[in-house]
Amino acid sequence: MSLEIKNLHVNVDGHEILKGIDLVINPGEVHSIMGPNGSGKSTLAQVLARRDAYHVTEGSVAFNGKDLLEMKPEEAACEGVFLAFQYPVEIPGISNAYFLRSALNAQRKFRGEEEMDAMDFLPFFREKLKLLEMDEKLMNRSLNEGFSGGEKKRNEVLQMSILEPKLAVLDETDSGLDIDALRIVANGVNALRSPERSFLVVTHYQRLLNYIKPDFVHVLVDGRIMRSGGPELALELEDKGYGWIEQEAAAL
């Protein structure tokens, strides 16, 4: 599968946030998008997940040869797009296990596969919980209710490992995590790396990329990709900050 973004322009509340993004992600690749706050990183992530508050005014996004922008959120999800939220929602009254099984089965149904019943789901779920060093008791607790920031992020990666997406978009998954949680989340993500799966890791800090080594790094400033490079670009930003690129963007 591949993701092809061509000249993407996105508006939110009448303001243009993305000003012509071009990006190609091939199967198996890990891309990182870095940038200062307000550059449009999250907007890009949310548009890919089909959040309708974000209006596409120009450009196209093809996913596996299909028009991603024509899809509803659930269709994009069933096609294999997964967004690990920056601020995962708490939903009291729905248990983690029930939610995940419903989501998994919704996707299986879409693909014409057999749905998993509760009996088969449990061991599958347990195995993934172990990988993310999460407590089994979580199964019956309400979705993200009472979870710390770090636990919520781990839950996002847990969901990712259960739903097995083709394109995983991580929206600032590292923000608010201590080093231990970071390590666990990164392990979870790395365990999912495969030639058939791509990752788009949106991050403000370089630190996460020490654990999830990207193939490509892009710097987003003021809605434009100003620079693209290999992992060494991330280290350069770590060293120099964003100031020099921001100046370039301002001059445009």
Binding site: E74, V89, A103, A106
Partner: protein, 460 residues
């Protein structure tokens, strides 16, 4: 007897006169007096209007102008198959009342342990029960409420439950009131007396349903007496058809360290009013009031809750959740009265409402009357719409919009379900809610999307 209210209560006077001539227990002086006092009070005040503070948001004009008749003497026989789905698996007993009258052929009380009486009120009246004359109509006051007065005037049948001291009844006792009305407008007045002696434990489920499509007013009063250290769970399930009027009053009297949980589910009916009035009369008592109301179309669902802390060291928790769609109208009036000597009272009230359409409406009014000075008393209300963020989150995992909305409705309703003790009654209610919400969603128009919940202080 002169009707002093300005309303035309002629039909009710006619009904009462006929009733007195042939009602069970008509020759018992104590019962005659109770009924007469009831009718006198009703005649004096008539049906409430929206000028009455306790009925500010609910007009019962449609009830006041209907010429209701009492059910005729002829018994209505329902084929048992009609009631097949209304069985609680593993219940200790199920008493069925058709149009307010006990139907022994549809009822059973075989799994009730020793020390427990589950019979009809009429049987108790006709058996000249001494116990009955001491306890019936001692708590639900006719002066307070016209519907209580009207019910008291016409009381004759309903359930009588008595659990003796120390007896624990694990399985629920199911009281099913079915109205079957076709052309005449009927009114029925089920009267229940549930007595739980010291240290007893039991669960009672009162369920109101209607068959057919005729206009019916079900006006029930239940007096629940919980002795010292008794543990009682009471459920009210109201799921009448959309033309029905349903008024219910639950008057609870609690002894020392008694623990009573009252769960109410208003799902059906066109115009519905549920009154819950617990009095914490003994030290250290606990009361949980857990209500859910789900309205669509033009339904009007009014929840009036009046908790009285009459003794020190008692705690009460009141949670009401409402889901309203189309042009349904919900009302929550939460009154907490803390008497002068009720020190160390701990009371908490929460009303959360989900509005699914622009036309849906909720009136929520807390009313705190605190006369003691060492008290903890909080209240809060929220009014919101389906959380956009939650909806997107679920859809981003592959769930369709319809499925996601359904799940969020279930989640909201399950806040209420979570407060029920695990057991047969809870299983019955949860299944019922699941089915109801499924049909509810299918029947309603698509609603607008919202932007999350806001907190509202006092409204009204």
């Amino acid at each position: 007897m002169v009707a002093t209210s300005t309303q035309d209560l002629g039909i009710h006077l006619e009904n009462f006169t006929d009733f007195q001539r042939q009602a069970a227990g008509r020759n018992l002086p104590w019962l005659r007096k109770i009924r007469e006092d009831g009718f006198a009070r009703f005649a004096e005040v008539g049906f409430p209007t929206t000028r009455d503070e306790d009925w500010r948001f609910t007009s019962v004009a449609p009830i006041a102008r209907t010429q209701f008749r009492l059910p005729g003497k002829a018994l209505v026989h329902l084929p048992p198959a009609e009631l097949k789905s209304w069985q609680i698996e593993g219940s200790a007993a199920r008493l069925v009342f058709v149009n307010g009258r006990y139907a022994p052929e549809l009822s059973r009380a075989d799994a009730v342990p020793k020390g427990v009486a589950v019979t009809s009120l009429r049987e108790q009246i006709e058996g000249h029960s001494d116990q009955l004359s001491k306890q019936l109509a001692r708590y639900a006051q006719v002066e307070r409420d016209a519907f209580v007065a009207l019910n008291t005037a016409f009381l004759e049948d309903g359930a009588y439950v008595h659990v003796k001291r120390g007896v624990v009844v694990e399985a629920p006792i199911h009281l099913l009131f079915v109205n079957s009305v076709d052309h005449l407008a009927l009114m029925v007045h089920p009267r229940n007396l549930l007595v739980f002696d010291d240290q007893s434990q039991a669960t009672v489920v009162e369920e109101y349903a209607s068959l057919g499509a005729g206009v019916v007013l079900s006006n029930s009063v239940t007096e629940l007496l919980a002795g010292d250290d008794a543990h009682v769970s009471h459920y009210l399930i109201e799921r009448e058809h959309k033309e029905a009027f349903n008024v219910s009053t639950l008057r609870i009297q609690q002894g020392r360290t008694a623990n009573v949980a009252s769960h109410s589910f208003l799902l059906g009916g066109g115009l519905v009013r549920n009154n819950v009035h617990p009095v914490l009369g003994g030290e250290g008592g606990e009361c949980l009031i857990n209500g859910l109301f789900v309205g669509s179309g033009k339904q009007h669902l009014d929840n009036y809750m009046h908790v009285e802390h009459a003794s020190p060291h008692c705690s009460s928790r009141q949670f009401y959740n409402g889901i309203l769609d189309d042009t349904a109208h919900g009302v929550f009036h939460g009154r907490i009265v803390v008497h002068k000597d009720a020190q160390k009272t701990d009371a908490k009230q929460t009303n959360r409402n989900l509005l699914l359409s622009d036309g849906a409406q909720i009136d929520t009014k807390p009313q705190l009357e605190i006369y003691a000075d060492d008290v903890k008393c909080t209240h809060g209300a929220t009014i919101g719409q389906i959380d956009e963020n939650a909806l997107f989150y679920l859809r981003s995992r592959g769930m369709s919009e319809a499925e996601a909305r359904q799940l969020l409705l279930l989640a909201f309703a399950s806040e209420c379900a979570e407060r029920m003790r695990p057991g047969a009654a809870r299983i019955y209610v949860e299944e019922l809610l699941r089915e109801h919400l499924l049909r509810f969603r299918e029947a309603s128009r698509r609603s607008g999307l919202g932007t999350g919940e806001r907190n509202v202080e006092e409204v009204g």
